[in-house]
């Protein structure tokens, strides 16, 4: 999934900028993501930062089961993130559809639309779990480094 030219260097482990996409989530996961940014968990001390544009991001944080309206938008978000990139899905909805899995408006789960690297289950997952998901994403970047060497 990663471009051959763009190879992650070590600074990715210490500086991961995250763009958050809500594809129709109930806001539960989004609030837990915000909780991870609060002084109690303070992910900025690991260099993790929430950015406002997908072009600046290294990781795409997707919440929610993908509703019909969001399909092409999610694809475009994914394409706009410059390589190397990781995709983290937060919450049961994005993994399996969750409580919405029978909905008429559901196209997801997320991995049916874009490639996903890390799944963080929970409805909603705790902030610790989300931070753990980011650590898993770092492991993926480490693997990319190893593969490309």
């Amino acid at each position: 999934m990663s471009d051959k030219k763009a190879r992650p260097n070590r600074s990715f482990d210490k500086s991961l900028w995250v763009f958050h996409v809500n594809t129709g989530s109930c806001n539960g996961c989004d609030i837990e993501i915000l909780a991870a940014l609060t002084p109690r968990y303070d992910v900025e001390r690991f260099g993790i930062k929430l950015v406002g544009s997908p072009r600046h991001a290294d990781a795409l944080l997707v919440t929610g089961p993908v509703s019909r309206e969001m399909v092409d938008k999610l694809k475009r978000f994914y394409e706009q993130v410059p390589d190397p990139k990781v995709v983290i899905v937060v919450g049961s909805c994005g993994i399996s559809g969750g409580v919405f899995h029978e909905s008429y408006d559901l196209v997801g789960p997320v991995d049916r639309i874009i490639p996903v690297d890390v799944y963080v289950p929970g409805c909603p997952p705790r902030p610790e779990a989300i931070i753990d998901g980011v650590v898993k994403a770092w492991m993926k970047l480490e693997r990319l480094r190893g593969e490309n060497k």
Partner: protein, 338 residues
């Protein structure tokens, strides 16, 4: 001919050194700012070298150019922005080290040069062909037009006072400002005026380096980072560096205008050290002054308040700050007359 050549080589080496200093110290300053801001919010915050990691990461990311962007302008805007910001730093004395291009320009030139980084950002924003970036570029222009007048008033008030007291001196040269520090030449009214001008200048700095509450141009919550919305990878890294250098430039300008004191002028008669050692001491003292200025102009303000709306920014600059600057100008005029 040979003299000219040596002079030219000196300037080139000086430029490289000052550029490297601006970038490295700017990034360090950004790190200190983030750490202090985090502590003020009861957080631990990133390590001080975090901006270096950010830049290192940005430089190895993919550099995306949007299909409907004006490619040459889009790619050259970050370079112009960084280069022009470093160019301003060449005219400002660093501690007791004279500026590289000291004899070639004064504060008026600096005022003009300071608009170029903003204009480069505006050009880059318009060239990216994104509605968010266009909105951001327009807001940046509004911001630029807003803070220019109080900034110019501040500089002119101080320069005019010096020129009336010392008619022979080169009025707007920064070395003149360094020779006659503002607080030493003012009477009682003038000191009040200069204090008001200092506050105005600190708030202008916040706008100039587009930080909260004046960061309307890159408001990430409303217009998705505004100007920089389409920028990624290397280009974004260059803008990041330019922002870091600009912070140093604005803080240096305040230090040069208001606090040009050097430790050597006061302590050299008591402690005997070689000239180079005194220059080092002065340089470190200057870095310390810069950090203090940045704390008040950037960290303290951005942690304390939320972002203004566009019209509020214009009202603050054209209304309150211009009024304050003009009152300060009158106070200084009163000081001259009495």
């Amino acid at each position: 001919m040979v003299d000219n050549l040596i002079h030219l080589i000196e300037i080139i080496i000086g430029t490289i050194l000052v550029g490297a200093f601006g970038i490295l110290f700017g990034l360090l300053t950004k790190g200190i700012d983030r750490k202090l801001a985090a502590h003020m919010q009861w957080r631990i915050g990133p390590p001080i070298i975090q901006p270096f990691r950010d830049v290192k990461k940005l430089f190895c990311k993919e550099n995306i150019v949007p299909r409907n962007a004006v490619t040459w302008l889009y790619n050259s805007a970050p370079i112009i922005c960084l280069a022009s910001t470093i160019a301003v730093l060449l005219y400002i004395p660093l501690g007791s080290i004279p500026p590289v291009l000291g004899g070639y320009g004064d504060v008026i030139l600096i005022l003009y040069l300071l608009t170029i980084p903003s204009l480069a950002m505006v050009a880059g924003g318009f060239a990216s062909g994104s509605p968010f970036a266009t909105v951001g570029a327009q807001r940046e222009m509004v911001l630029m037009m807003s803070y220019e007048f109080p900034l110019a008033t501040t500089v002119i008030a101080l320069g005019w006072k010096i020129s009336t007291l010392h008619p022979g001196s080169v009025a707007f040269s920064l070395s003149t400002f360094a020779r006659y520090p503002v607080w030493n030449i003012m009477g009682p009214f003038g000191i009040i005026g200069a204090a008001i001008l200092l506050v105005v200048m600190l708030l202008v700095t916040t706008g100039e380096i587009t930080k909260v509450p004046f960061d309307i141009a890159e408001a990430e919550t409303e217009i998705a980072e505004g100007l920089f919305v389409e920028y990624s990878g290397k280009n974004l890294g260059l803008f990041y560096l330019a922002d870091a250098v600009k912070t140093v430039v604005m803080a240096s300008l305040i230090v040069a205008l208001f606090f040009p004191y050097n430790l050597s002028t006061y302590l050299a008669s008591h402690i005997s050290l070689p000239t180079i050692a005194w220059q080092t001491v002065d340089f470190l003292f200057y870095l310390f002054k810069i950090e203090i200025v940045i704390f008040f102009a950037m960290t303290f303000i951005r942690v304390s308040v939320a972002r203004f709306k566009v019209d509020q920014v214009v009202r603050v600059y054209w209304g309150y700050l211009t009024l304050a600057a003009l009152i300060a100008l009158l106070l200084i005029a009163l000081d001259v007359l009495l």
